[in-house]
């Protein structure tokens, strides 16, 4: 009896130890899997510099699913079990957002479609575009676009002498959203080369149900066929860029991501509405700027979901008419993101418009370099400039289907406009006040910006999409 008792106790002890070890192993594996879904966090330094470190199991399909508010953890568990999938990670920053791993070798599109069909699901998207690169400087989670690593503003791992982490945390934001073709951003500029191979798929096209633009004061030839936007310089519907500046800004906002071509925009998917009010020299009149904003308001009222105007231009001359039309745009739910200017002067003392209009739908943007320093050219303003963004050595789309590196608060502005579009992609009903506040609350505090911009920081897309 006593011998049997000791035998039983010994067997029980061995079983407990095995179970405990198995549990630890499972837990370790879970953590490992969670680390491998590091699309939710910056590729860490060890990963970036150690080509021998662990690799993600790229053979498994992962998708991102956001369940609707009120769907319980048990209900999610039941759904994934039914599909023979597993919840691999919860994205804590976003309620209901989970990384789902498929266990039976189906394609990402197939799995995502299965989830999209459910009433419990707000959205489901594939994660296949973000993948590991085993070439070059090591392994990073990134878009596969050819020039992606040149775009330090999206992902700064210290390339070309920059400071690691001095970027807008785009990849973390992309784990939540890579944009939406339901969000329209007006690029009010020198036009946009809407045929550029890295932009063409993200150019807005007027839906047939929306009538052509009519403004009898501009032209007596009837409606303007604004298929892709509006050209105020020539009062026609062809906003083709003949300067390059507008095309560059458009690429920062929304060059197609994951297409192995050129760069990725802040938004992989978005609709760019090209507007031309500046000529081939990059200069335009206040009146034409007003006409273009009037066009945007008209299109918004007609049903186009245009919520952001990117304005990489300006002057020190104040126009009350321009201020009024911008205020009106705000009444229509349209945010204006504007360049602070490049004179390295204090906008608090010498304002630069439209950035310096004290309106609740205007965000004024300064420029930082790849070391998180205010650039030598950027204007600043402790009260009148809101936020900074990458604006030096910025590569983007250019004329003749090319890519060029440029600098200016012109380049910083579309980074912020792009982040605004990302936020709108998951929060289509957000008000302009809320959107502006969210962007300004979503900065990384940067010492060099203390006392130079009102927020004291550089825009952070991940924080913005997570709610500020």
């Amino acid at each position: 009896m006593s011998r049997n008792l000791w035998l039983n106790l010994s067997i029980a002890l061995v079983l407990i130890l095995i179970a405990a070890f198995a549990g630890r192993l499972h837990k370790w594996n879970w953590h490992r899997a969670a680390q491998q879904t590091s699309h939710t966090s910056r590729s860490n330094e060890a990963t970036a510099t150690d080509p021998g470190s662990e690799e993600s199991d790229s053979s498994k399909t992962e998708i991102l699913v956001r369940f609707r508010a009120g769907v319980s953890a048990q209900a999610i568990e039941n759904i994934t079990s039914r599909f023979n999938d597993e919840v691999e990670d919860h994205i804590e920053a976003v309620d209901g957002l989970d990384v789902i791993e498929d266990e039976d070798n189906r394609s990402a599109d197939e799995v995502a479609a299965q989830y999209r069909a459910l009433a419990e699901v707000e959205y489901a998207e594939t994660n296949s575009e973000i993948k590991l690169d085993h070439e070059g400087a090591g392994k990073h989670l990134h878009a596969n676009d050819e020039l992606f690593f040149k775009q330090w503003g999206l992902f700064n791992h210290g390339q070309d002498g920059g400071k690691s982490g001095a970027d807008i945390s785009a990849m973390q934001a992309w784990a939540v959203t890579k944009g939406s073709d339901q969000v329209v951003v007006a690029v009010l500029d020198s036009g946009v080369d809407y045929t550029h191979p890295d932009l063409a798929g993200n150019i807005w096209t007027r839906p047939e149900i929306i009538k052509q633009y009519e403004d009898s004061d501009l032209t007596s030839e009837g409606p303007i066929d604004d298929m892709h936007g509006f050209n105020v310089v020539e009062d026609n519907g062809d906003p083709m860029d003949d300067n390059g500046h507008g095309t560059h800004c458009a690429g920062i906002i929304g060059a197609e991501g994951g297409n192995e071509v050129g760069i990725a925009g802040v938004n992989w998917t978005v609709k760019i509405m090209p507007l031309k009010f500046m000529d081939s020299d990059g200069a335009g009149t206040t009146k034409d700027a007003i006409e273009a904003i009037n066009y945007v308001i008209n299109r918004k009222r007609a049903g186009v979901n245009v919520r952001v105007i990117s304005a990489s231009w300006g002057s020190t001359t104040k126009s009350r008419a321009l201020e009024d039309v911008i205020r009106k745009a705000g009444d229509e739910g349209i945010l204006i993101v504007a360049a602070a200017g490049n004179d390295h002067s204090d906008n608090d003392a010498k304002p630069h418009y439209p950035a310096s209009y004290d309106l609740n739908n205007v965000i004024s943007v300064a420029a930082v370099n790849r070391n998180d320093e205010l650039t030598t050219f950027s204007n600043f303003g402790a009260t009148s400039v809101d936020v900074a963004a990458p604006g030096e050595q910025i590569i983007s789309t250019w004329l003749q289907h090319g890519f060029e590196e440029k600098q200016g608060t012109s380049m910083a502005t579309p980074f912020v406009a792009g982040v605004a579009a990302l936020v709108l992609s998951t929060n289509p009903g957000i008000s302009i006040d809320e959107l502006r506040l969210r962007l300004l609350n979503s900065v990384d505090a940067v010492p060099s910006l203390n006392g130079k911009v009102a927020t004291g920081g550089r825009i952070n897309a991940a924080k913005a999409v997570a709610g500020g």
């Binding site: 500029d189 020198s190 300067n243 500046h245 560059h248 009010f277 500046m278 081939s280 020299d281 990059g282 200069a283 335009g284 009149t285 206040t286 009146k287 700027a289 990489s312 231009w313 300006g314 002057s315 020190t316 001359t317 360049a339 602070a340 200017g341 490049n342 004179d343 050219f377 440029k406 600098q407 200016g408 608060t409 012109s410 380049m411 502005t413």
Partner: protein, 91 residues
């Protein structure tokens, strides 16, 4: 950036001569410097002008007439006269 096209300097001289009502022979070339301007208006906006806020490489051309010096700013695409009798001009 490539060197300045001599045609731009010729154009600037002709413009200044016309404005001053003198012969082009009376216009002397001063320094020509390559520089970065703060925007597409080359830092010399004309009235009611909005310009792209992109750093723009170009040239600063100084011309002399009598005891006075005049400044033009140029890129391969445009030429501007700076602060001539208190105003800027796109040529």
């Amino acid at each position: 950036m490539s060197s300045i096209d001599i045609a731009i300097v010729v154009k600037a001289r002709a413009d200044l001569a016309e404005r001053l009502g003198v012969s082009e022979n009376e216009i002397a070339e001063g320094h020509i410097d390559q520089t970065d301007f703060p925007d597409a208006s080359l830092g010399a906006p004309v009235a009611d002008e909005m310009s792209a806020q992109m750093i723009t490489p170009g040239w600063r051309i100084r011309l002399r007439a009598g005891d006075n010096t005049y400044e033009y700013r140029a890129t391969a695409r445009q030429l501007r006269l700076v602060n001539f009798k208190g105003r800027n001009y796109r040529i």
